[in-house]
């Protein structure tokens, strides 16, 4: 029955090499060929890199086609990775980002050649200002974590300008790992705040910490990573501000309340927005995304340069901003991602954006209710856009959240997030997003329920899952202990 095993493996592109095959042809060389040993000197040049593959275009197309078919993707179905907001990526946006007028523009062309590109950035900034209720937005950061760092660097600079040397950043224990890492790379020390039994910010703990005077900022996710709204967020902001500290908001979960409430009203000083989450730009198997940072007026002078300005109907890049933190990357940001987000915002409009939040909240609440008899709810607090269960009901049968995740793959779904948030042991963090209709939600719930049943009645099938995927439970320990991180020509093992 294993006939197709013959074809299930696709070799590495290097292993497909056959002598003399080529996958390209360059335009004919219309100038005199040069001898690089003469033009450059022998010690500066290298020869052909023999280990590179020799393959035809057909080989390359087949190779990547076959590889692609081993991926699960949003187009395959519900992709419930909590916190990741795996929603539909509109095809229109892909079409528009590929317009030569966007994709073929060099960042250093004269301003009069790139008015459309600058306008797009300007309009996107305006839209994000409108959505967040903040003063300004930088589009430069390449991803959420990069946005966090940028925001925290601005806070650092603002404190410095005030002559203050605060070094502590408070971060709830439910936070995403990038929060503490970014704080550290921005030059701060991190102090973790334990969450309340409701899973939310502990105001008392906050008060205590603030008393010390060393607190630069609180970094907090709203709604938090349990999908629970922080009811005291405005209070917290006030307390922070009173003590001269800042509120940094992780906007990864902005999709829960777009058009309903705003970070501006909550008192945020800075927040990053993942265009690749809330605003539907594709995740690409791990990026590129974009992590614009919206700031309050207080932080506006510190924005990275350049910013886009408009004067007399013309757009231009302005780097003449004395208080800027400088640059956080090359050029102006992931422009191709901005195009997609802009198209999305125009497509949804004010009605569709609010509808997005509503649909996300409806879907998460449906799954919560549909599954709460079969899976233990980590926190009882009301759910917004995502819901976190744990595996405590299944553990009795020796079945862990990881087993459940793997078994879902057999049912034709991607798995939820399983190792996060850290405050939930055995977490199953489920975010269905606004893209999912009831039929898909029901199918997912049915699969989850079937697995709960299997866990009771036939736990072995869950513990040894998946059974239907091209590979099964790769040995991760071995991967880390004897790292092979590249192909080696002699069939040897690249470290």
């Amino acid at each position: 029955m294993n006939g197709n095993k013959l074809r299930e493996r696709e070799p590495l592109i290097f292993e497909r090499s056959t002598p003399g095959a080529v996958g390209y042809q360059l335009p004919a060389l219309d100038v005199e060929p040069v001898d690089p040993e003469r033009t450059l000197g022998a010690d500066l040049v290298r020869g052909e890199i023999r280990e590179l593959p020799e393959v035809s275009e057909v080989d390359v197309v087949r190779h990547f086609h076959r590889l692609s078919r081993w991926n699960y993707a949003v187009d395959d179905g519900l992709y419930p990775l909590g916190s990741c907001t795996m929603k539909y990526n509109p095809r229109l946006n892909e079409e528009l980002a590929r317009l030569p007028g966007f994709s073929q523009v060099h960042p250093l062309q004269p301003a009069e050649d790139v008015q459309g590109a600058l306008r797009l950035m300007w309009e996107l900034e305006q839209a994000l200002v409108g959505i967040t209720g903040m003063a300004r937005v930088t589009l430069q950061p390449a991803a959420g974590a990069h946005g966090e760092l940028t925001g925290m660097l601005m806070i650092r600079k603002a404190l410095k300008d005030r002559g203050e040397h605060r070094s502590t950043v408070l971060i709830p224990d439910s936070a995403h790992g990038t929060n503490p890492a970014s704080a550290v790379f921005a030059g701060f020390k991190v102090k973790e705040l334990a969450s309340t039994p409701a899973g939310t910010l502990d105001l008392q703990a906050l008060e205590q910490e603030l008393a010390g005077g060393d607190v630069a900022a609180l970094m907090i996710t709203v709604p938090n990573t349990l999908g629970v709204f922080e009811p005291e967020i405005a209070r917290a902001a006030a307390m922070l501000h009173e003590k001269g500290a800042f509120l940094y908001m992780d906007g990864a979960n902005l999709n829960a309340f777009v058009g309903v409430a705003s970070p501006g009203k909550m008192g945020a000083d800075a927040l990053h927005i993942n265009l690749h989450k809330t605003f539907s730009t594709p995740h690409g198997g791990g990026g590129p995304g974009a992590g614009p940072v919206a700031v309050s007026e207080l932080l506006e002078p510190y924005l990275p340069v350049p910013v886009v300005e408009k004067r007399d109907g013309r757009f231009f890049l302005d780097s003449d901003r004395p208080k800027t933190i400088g640059k956080v990357r090359s050029f102006y940001g992931n422009f191709g991602i901005m195009v997609r987000a802009m198209a999305y915002i125009l497509s949804l409009g004010r009605n569709g954006l609010k509808g997005m939040a509503e649909a996300a909240v409806l879907a998460a609440n449906f799954l919560r209710r549909a599954l709460e008899e079969d899976y233990h709810l980590a926190y009882e607090s009301p759910t917004l856009h995502e819901v976190v269960f744990d595996d405590s009901l299944q553990k009795r049968f020796g079945v862990t959240n990881m087993d459940i995740a793997k078994r879902l793959l057999d049912y034709g779904f991607h798995a939820p997030t399983v190792s996060f948030p850290l405050i939930v042991h055995g977490a199953l963090m489920i975010e269905p997003t606004d893209s999912e209709g009831l039929a898909e939600l029901e199918a997912f719930a049915a699969a989850m329920k079937a697995i709960a049943r299997e866990a009771r009645e036939n736990p072995e099938i869950v513990k040894t899952a998946p059974h239907t995927t091209p590979v099964r439970r790769p040995d991760e320990v071995r991967a880390a202990r004897q790292p092979i991180l590249r192909w080696m020509p002699d069939g040897g093992q690249g470290s």
């Binding site: 890199i49 956080v328 409009g349």
Partner: protein, 444 residues
Amino acid sequence: MHRYQPGEGDRRRILEFLGKSSVEELLAPIPQELRIGELPLPLGMAEEEVRRILREWAASNVTAEEKTSFLGAGVYRHVVPAVMDAVLSRAEFFTAYTPYQPEVSQGTLQAIFEFQTFVCLLTGMDVANASLYDGATAVVEAVLQASRLRPEGRKVFVSRLLHPDYLATLRTYAEAAELELVELPWDNTGRTDLSRVAPEGAVAVVVQSPNVVGVVEDLAAVRRAAGEALAIQAVAEATSLGLLAPGGAFGFDVVCGEMQAFGLPPSFGGPHVGFFATRKEYLRQMPGRLVGQTIDAEGQRAFVLTLSTREQHIRRAKATSNICTNHSLMALGVTVVLSLLGQKGVRELALASHAKACYLKKRLAELAPKVRLAFPNSPTYNEFLLLREKPEQLLARLSEEGILGGVATPLLAPYLPVGILVAVTEKNTREECDRLVEALGRLA
């Protein structure tokens, strides 16, 4: 309802199932005082309307393809095989997340493993990661890795001939990391002046080669000068690695930079893709994701994300970098292009770019004194600097004639020699070069 969202019927049925009369009941946890009225945005638009607006904006840009372009300075116009975008357009690739579940992500994982291999082969290093945001942040990560490996040191010697955006970004990060950047000037050959490097107790020496004025650095000398400090090579024009001996051949500790030149569209500056390669001894101090090969439960080869104890989601405040989402899809694009070019093409493309640049450089040299080569006798790959006062004006006149003659260095950084940075690739024809020469001869 909106076309990207479920229908009214679903909404109603879910509310019934939940025993709620409206979505507002579910939104109740959000306090009223945080609520907003209608967003200050238009109503959702038809696909055709959005297309019309964005096409209009796109049309008000003049693309580099509509003119004859010699722009480079960090973003290069090389051939882009149609296959690349066809692969990137596979929903299985572009609509997938980071490959957390290896059983349903072998496609992305294997492709990244191939990317890592390509980077190692090009740089001559042992190990490479799964990508970084861009060249600038790659340089930052290299310096930060170096500072973890030389925890006592604070001094970083860095060439002022790094791409100015790379240097500016490094300055931003270095301040927070409390590293002291010692910026190295250049000598009269357009190479970094290494005479001020004092390696004892230093963290690293960072140069870019080819550097921002196009000159190929003497990497052997840099390696020697660096001594105990780490030697870091930044690369902004990755196709140069098809012709120039990389840092790996000279014992460098890190070779990193930007892979855009291998076929990624300029896209007004991004998304492109950073790469990072280093020695295997430094593996556990590396930033970013790594894909490793292992075996699965049935003993078959399989690929997984590995060594993630270095990363933020495990190590949090102690992670080797804060990066999470990287530039995977762009790394895939580069992997496709490198696969197509292969053994012969990687070199042929570099040689062709170099030959055309040599042709143009020689012809432009003849225009002296109207314009002058800044470093006439220095080795260059496919980019070089012409000295010229007020280059913006001259370039504007060229642009009117449909020629993007190069990048005015004042646009890049105030400290660079004033002039025009000219980049040539295999896409520039001899005739285009001749047109530039003719126009410059006339207008300069």
